[in-house]
């Protein structure tokens, strides 16, 4: 794209660029339509996400990309497709057209529309029927060189009885000026499939992360999802697991750390649609300095579902009296046939008795706090299948404890 700022861009310019890149007509049309929606809509009314420091109209998208794919290419021999979404448009146009923006609506709010109009970086991951991709696939998005705005888009289709492990990361250094990342991740888990999904948000300071994530589980699909959020200046993530198929199952762990003056909001939803589906969600949050985190979780049990079994837990640990955590778990049940439902929530300071006990064995207070926090995040971090990434995250978390 040109180095025009958003206020200088137009639907015509966007359409022209799309045609110039040889994109299919339907995509050009979608981009134009999304741009019109963006141009006409006001800022979203999010009560707990403060966007006052973000001036999107002054941001200038570039055509640059910042995408790294790491995987064992032997998986390609098994029939697995992993490629940048732009390139996949020529090989998998129909698949992309049929699935893209069907899990997470494009015209939901100003930023989702902006993403639909301007996205560049993206990935298509397709795992064919009955294929078990044993080794983890890593997708890492950054900020394109010289740019302060990006709209990453991950589209994952896992066919019947296939298996895959995907790690999606958002990463950058600290930014000297305000930057915007508005990604979307859509995962379609077919009947009987098994998906391990690790999402990691660790942008540097200055980045506003406004993201949407949704996994749709068909019959008997099984999802293990770990959400890690430790970076960015402001985060607003709306995430959902839709248990659409009968007997589908999710185990969803979260680890959020808001330090400095970070404001990190996560709104994870469990939506039960199918019969006899099982869900478990456990989010853990640490706040330090003047950090602020919001857990806006929800269990929604739709009218047509029966035999649902679900549990939601949220635990928060405060390392500093100036830090804050809001927990707003909700439960909406539109059926009278729920098998099991539960909720637990705790919030508090690092326990003085624990610190004293550990200190009485010679461990310094600082080290004791570090061990308690790392232990608190242990269940989530233990699920990360790549040792090097886990070590990097542990080091980043340790640095935030000591700050």
């Amino acid at each position: 794209m040109t180095s025009l700022t958003l206020k200088e861009l137009s639907a015509d310019a966007i359409a022209a660029l799309s045609r110039q890149r040889g994109e299919p007509a339907w995509l050009t049309e979608r981009r134009s339509e999304a741009w019109s929606f963006f141009a006409q809509s006001g800022p979203p009314e999010w009560r707990r996400t403060d966007l006052s420091g973000l001036r999107p109209e002054e941001l200038a998208p570039t055509t640059g990309t910042a995408l790294t794919l790491e995987w064992d290419e032997a998986l390609a021999g098994q029939g697995v497709t992993l490629k940048p979404l732009g390139a996949a448009l020529s090989s998998h146009a129909e698949l992309i057209k049929a699935r893209m923006d069907t899990a997470v609506a494009a015209l939901e709010h100003k930023f989702s529309a902006l993403r639909a109009a301007l996205w560049q970086d993206g990935v298509l991951l397709h795992v064919p029927k009955n294929v078990a991709a044993e080794t983890p696939i890593r997708v890492r998005y950054g900020l394109p060189a010289g740019s302060r705005v990006t709209f990453p888009r991950t589209l994952v289709i896992v066919e019947d009885h296939a298996q895959v492990t995907l790690i999606e990361e958002f990463f950058s250094g600290d930014q000297p000026a305000t930057a915007l990342a508005a990604p979307v991740t859509e995962i379609f888990a077919g009947p009987g499939s098994r998906v391990r999904f690790v999402s990691v948000q660790r942008w540097g300071d200055g980045v506003y992360h406004i993201g949407g994530q949704k996994v749709v589980l068909e019959r008997d699909a099984d999802l293990e999802w770990t959400s890690v959020a430790i970076g960015a200046k402001v985060q607003h993530i709306e995430a959902e697991t839709a248990l659409k198929g009968d007997g589908s199952r999710v185990n969803w762990l979260g680890a959020t750390f808001a330090g400095d003056a970070q404001k990190l909001l996560t709104a994870p939803w469990l939506r039960h649609i199918g019969h006899h589906a099982e869900s478990y969600m456990e989010f853990r949050t640490v706040v330090n300095d003047t950090g602020y985190s919001v857990f806006d979780g929800m269990i929604k049990i739709e009218r047509e579902s029966t035999g649902t079994s679900t549990r939601l837990e949220e635990h928060a640990l405060h390392l500093n009296p100036g830090a804050r955590n809001d927990s707003i778990p909700g439960l909406k049940i539109d059926t009278n046939s729920v098998l099991k439902g539960g909720h637990a929530s705790t919030s508090g300071d690092v326990d003085e008795e624990q610190l004293f006990y550990m200190q009485s064995r010679g461990i310094s207070k600082t080290e004791a706090r570090r061990m308690i926090v790392m232990g608190f995040f242990g269940p989530a971090l233990d699920t990360i299948p790549v040792e090097a990434l886990r070590a990097e995250l542990e080091a980043a978390i340790e640095a935030k404890i000591l700050s």
Partner: protein
């Protein structure tokens, strides 16, 4: 430097409540010394104050150990000086395994100023060996090491873990706070044997207990009696037997009579 633990006119309170009202006590290094006393006499508070519990405010007095008034030290510094407290109610720490906790504690003891901690850390094989040996002596299953610290442990398991920590940290003075509470005879025997293996010239022991029962297993050379925040009588093992036979009321009346 003396390995005697010398407590001089120690006064402490929790909130507005005075609990220690001038404790004077010397525990000679390398000896076993028991403190007995009725409930609420301040025995456990004394143990907590020795270890540096932040919930108590020391309002007067001194505690000397190895040439330092330890009231000026953080709890971890007291530990590194060779003091150990076996807790009456060990604290659970979810997410921290027994093995990781023990290794961190040992490495903290081995750390030296100006040296890279990686250089002074216990080699992994050496740590595993010590851990295995310690657990075997205390009849603990190896799976113990992988469990979270005291999380879901039975009373007996918690106390055995306290002794395992003591075994591995090799303190020069151990304070046992009501270690017998909540233990059946079997567990009591295992725990007492663990203490007796370590007690001797290298390690003095201050045993705090309400009952004589524990002293059948861990035999003290000296017995002090605490009542109402003070040491009111000192003697040898015969004093413990006398208290067991007659209870504390007898002593209370005698003290009132002499006052």
């Amino acid at each position: 430097m003396s390995n005697d633990l010398v407590i001089k006119d120690l006064q402490a309170r929790i909130g507005e409540k005075e609990i220690l009202k001038g404790v004077n006590l010397t525990v000679q290094g390398g000896t076993i010394h028991a403190i007995m006393g009725p409930n609420g006499s301040g025995k456990s508070t004394l143990a907590s104050v020795i270890a540096g519990h932040p919930g108590y405010e020391v309002t007067g007095g001194e505690i000397w150990y190895r040439g330092q008034n330890i009231l000026e030290l953080e709890p971890d510094e007291r530990s590194k000086l060779g003091l150990f407290l076996a807790f009456q109610y060990p604290v659970s720490v979810p997410g921290v395994t027994v093995a990781n906790f023990l290794r961190a504690a040992i490495n903290a003891h081995r750390a030296e100023e100006g040296k890279d901690p990686r250089e002074t850390a216990i080699p992994v094989a050496e740590f595993r060996k010590q851990l295995r040996e310690g657990m075997k002596l205390l009849e603990m299953d190896e799976s113990f090491a992988r469990r979270y610290l005291n999380e879901g442990f039975s009373g007996g398991e918690k106390k055995r873990l306290e002794i395992l920590q003591m075994t591995m940290l090799k303190p020069s003075m151990a304070v046992m706070d009501e270690t017998d509470s909540g233990l059946d005879i079997d567990a009591l025997r295992i725990v007492a044997e663990g203490v007796n293996r370590l007690a001797g010239p290298e390690m003095g022991v201050l045993v705090i207990t309400h009952y004589q029962r524990l002293l059948n297993y861990i035999k003290p050379q000296f017995v002090s009696v605490m009542m109402d925040g003070r040491i009111v009588r000192e003697g040898g093992p015969e004093l413990a037997l006398e208290l067991e036979e007659k209870g504390y009321d007898w002593l209370r009346e005698e003290l009132a009579g002499t006052a």
